[in-house]
Amino acid sequence: MEQINPTRMELIKKNAQIKLAEQGRDLLREKMDALIQEFFNVMESVSQSRSELEKLSDVAQHALLIAEAIDDPVTLKSASFATRRGITLDIKGKNVMGVPVPIIEKKRFVKSLFERGYSILGVSGRIDEAAEKYEAELDLIITLAETETSLRRLGSEIQMTRRRVNALEQVLIPELKRQAKYIEITIDERDREDLYRLKKVKKIIERKKRETINT
């Protein structure tokens, strides 16, 4: 407290700070509300995609098992050799309330007949269908990865904003207010001292004046 200059100038500065802090707090509150809104939106789509994914993966698995049963697992494995390759994803960012969320730029992975790299003459439609279902599943997984990352980012942003609001509200603003109070009190005190001292000086002057008159 020592470093605070209990000057009127300082007081004005503090009061301005208090106002700023309160404004900031309100703003952050608003942002938080908006984030929470967004968070719930995303969450809904995530839970939807999740159940969709579950369903899709069941279907895909079933298609695969049927293909394996009828076409022999080795034929399937051979076809998988032809289609095996890495996936490259382009990831860009987007701002939601100042939160960077990923946007995955992707081609659809569901491939058409001649894109899978094998000749369809030796590969049955069952294998095709299994491949297609898994490609769709991959699509969904990637979408899910995108939204889930957004969700996580939003969540942590909400948490951070809340922490900031709390810091403003419970630490910074009361502190500033206390400081302003202190300056105010100090200034008042000094004013009173001044008044008193002035009065004292006035008395002394008057006494001296009286003495000079008297003498």
Partner: protein, 350 residues
């Protein structure tokens, strides 16, 4: 060619194929082990015993039936050694060669571990286990083709011809398609020279197969909205009924429904009766199942054809192949607990 002896043997072998009631018994088995125990009572016993040393459960069955298939085909081929018949029969068995070469090329392209590739090969064709092992050892796609050429195996020709395009685009489809078309063209041209009954029987089956492949390609292309010109490249030539023109016009129908209309009044009319839900869902595998079934039935019904012709060995090969597929379906469905109804639907009954 003494068909009397050979075909009598093959018919005797045929009588040892598992009948419907035995398959029923297999379906009724509660688990994979009792299924194996039941299969042990059949001709699969030897291969099951051999496979049992390394594998268990479903893998034991699968390895055993695969080995048994190969062994059976070799037996048939050995019976027919010599002369035109052998070359006709190898023509049917060559499809496994094509499949194996494709697998090796695919594996080599992604630098797959040789033993992994070897596991996926079924040496039922002319390329025996020794040849396949050596091919798998080659370092890259080109080396595989070169080795085929070195050994004077005809499949090196289409591959060499199309290699440049492959190395430019990196698209294995080029080579695979070249191989497939070569197989059918080569088979048809080998049959053209002979005017015998044998050649006629074989050609009939082969043309049916080409038709079915083409119809499948058409349906799949329509479903995936593939451009006609693009799809046309993947049709196999050689069928008198369904030539390029006819296929293109079916393709032009643009919808599965429309394409099916074109198939009315053809031998393939039966697929127009497929439940509407599959047509709407564009579920190709449903059509495919019917088409395959038709082919299998046609091939297996050769048993009642000329008893002193190649019809019998051909029918046997198909019947054996179907049997192996059925066993695999039953065994696989045992472990994933598919409802019995679906299982029965998946079986190919002949």
């Amino acid at each position: 060619m003494e068909y009397a002896y050979v075909n009598a043997r093959i018919k005797a072998m045929k009588s040892r194929l598992l009948d419907r009631s035995f398959l029923e018994q297999l379906i009724n088995k509660p688990d994979i082990d009792s299924l194996i125990a039941e299969l042990e009572k059949t001709t699969y016993r030897e291969e099951l015993d051999k496979a049992g040393v390394l594998y268990s459960g479903i893998h034991r069955i699968e390895v055993a039936i695969r080995k048994d298939l190969v062994k059976t085909f070799r037996t048939v081929l050995n019976l027919i050694r010599g002369g035109e018949t052998e070359s006709y029969l190898t023509l049917i068995l060559n499809r496994w060669d094509v499949q194996n070469i494709k697998t090796i090329l695919r594996g080599k392209k992604i630098q797959e571990n040789p033993s992994e590739i070897l596991d996926c090969l079924i040496p039922a064709g002319e390329l025996d286990e020794a040849a396949l092992t050596e091919l798998v050892k080659q370092p890259d796609v080109k080396a595989v083709i070169d080795l085929l050429a070195t050994w004077g195996i005809i499949y090196s020709r289409p591959l060499t011809l199309n290699f440049r395009e492959f190395s430019e685009t990196g698209d294995l489809l080029v080579l695979e398609y070249a191989l497939d078309t070569f197989y059918y063209q080569d088979a048809l041209s080998r049959l053209k020279s002979g005017e015998s009954d044998d050649a006629r029987i074989l050609k009939n089956i082969l043309v049916t197969e080409i038709d079915i492949n083409n119809i499948k390609t058409v349906l799949r292309s329509i479903r995936d909205r593939i451009d006609i010109e693009e799809a046309k490249r993947y049709f196999v030539k050689g069928s008198p009924d369904f030539d390029m023109e006819r296929l293109t016009s079916i393709m032009k129908a643009g919808t599965i429904d429309g394409a099916l209309k074109h198939l009315e009044h053809t031998p393939y009319q039966f697929i127009t009766t497929i439940p509407q839900e599959y047509i709407v869902a564009e579920k190709i595998s449903a059509f495919e199942k019917e088409l395959e079934r038709y082919l299998v039935k046609k091939a297996v019904s050769l048993f009642i054809g000329d008893p002193l012709s190649i019809a019998i060995p051909i029918a046997y090969i198909w019947a054996k192949y179907t049997e192996v597929t059925n066993i695999r379906v039953i065994a696989r469905c045992k472990i994933i607990e598919v409802p019995e109804k679906e299982l029965r639907e998946a079986l190919i009954s002949v």
